[in-house]
Symmetry: C2
Subunit: 155 residues, 2 copies
């Protein structure tokens, strides 16, 4: 397969995994649209996710950003050995989101190397991940900063 087909196949598999493992995220319309070592992007639709002001509901904005830490972990670290958990998340709502949104996040190579080494040595490693959530005009509507932990299975 070519790179584009590989990416489609990876995304299909990750989105099917989310549907199975976190069905409520799938029902919110959260989908991963880009994924690779150290980066991910997700989307969420406005339809079905509106709040009392007709804009995108806070928990959906939270969800589309928070999930990136999990899928980046699966795409970047050895998921046969380690699984991701989230310890805390700060979300700042900058302006109302009046369209579908896209959330992006990335880990730099130094962080990836540190996390891999710590997880192998200690069975766990913590990392921070910042995400930006943009509307369809490209305006940032919210930002998050989360602390995640990669943990060895069974711990």
């Amino acid at each position: 397969m070519g790179d584009t087909q590989d990416q489609m196949s990876l995304l299909d598999s990750v989105n099917a995994g989310i549907e199975l493992a976190i069905p409520v995220a799938h029902r919110m319309g959260i989908r991963i649209v880009e994924l690779g070592e150290g980066y991910a992007a997700g989307i969420a639709p406005l339809e079905g996710n509106t709040n009392h002001l007709g804009t995108l509901y806070a928990a959906t904005l939270f969800g589309v950003a928070e999930i990136l830490g999990g899928v980046i972990s699966v795409a970047t670290f050895d998921s046969s050995k380690f699984y991701p958990t989230v310890k805390d998340v700060q979300i700042r709502f900058r302006r109302p989101a009046k369209t579908a949104v896209r959330a992006t996040a990335s880990l730099d190579p130094d962080a990836i190397a540190r996390i891999k080494a710590e997880a192998e040595t200690n069975g766990k490693s913590e990392f921070e991940l910042e995400a930006q959530i943009s509307d369809e005009t490209g305006e940032i509507v919210a930002t998050t900063r989360g602390t995640y932990q990669l943990r060895r299975h069974g711990s």
Copy 2:
């Protein structure tokens, strides 16, 4: 009607309002179970809200706490004049939630008086709200601190 019937009627009306205004929160099973001037409690079921570890999904924990700022505002301030928005929320996940959860939050009388006065004078007022999320054994599984703003309609 007696106090219990009044409370039931208020809760029915608030939950019907959430179903209409924030359908995704209703679909997550988030329900308000106590509400009065300056306080609220909400619940969310484990069923339908599990994550990849079989515990309660982060965005549902976020949702059941975040919504308390909105419903406390509606129950405490003049909703014919003012509506609530959320500016930021910090959520700390203390331990995995393996059962349904209950979130509680309250505003003290001094804060209520300040917010009422500021909103009348300035058309808006900001307030902080802390929520505790507990599992069915009474253990705190997560805590949140949110900054909300009460705003005059049309602003």
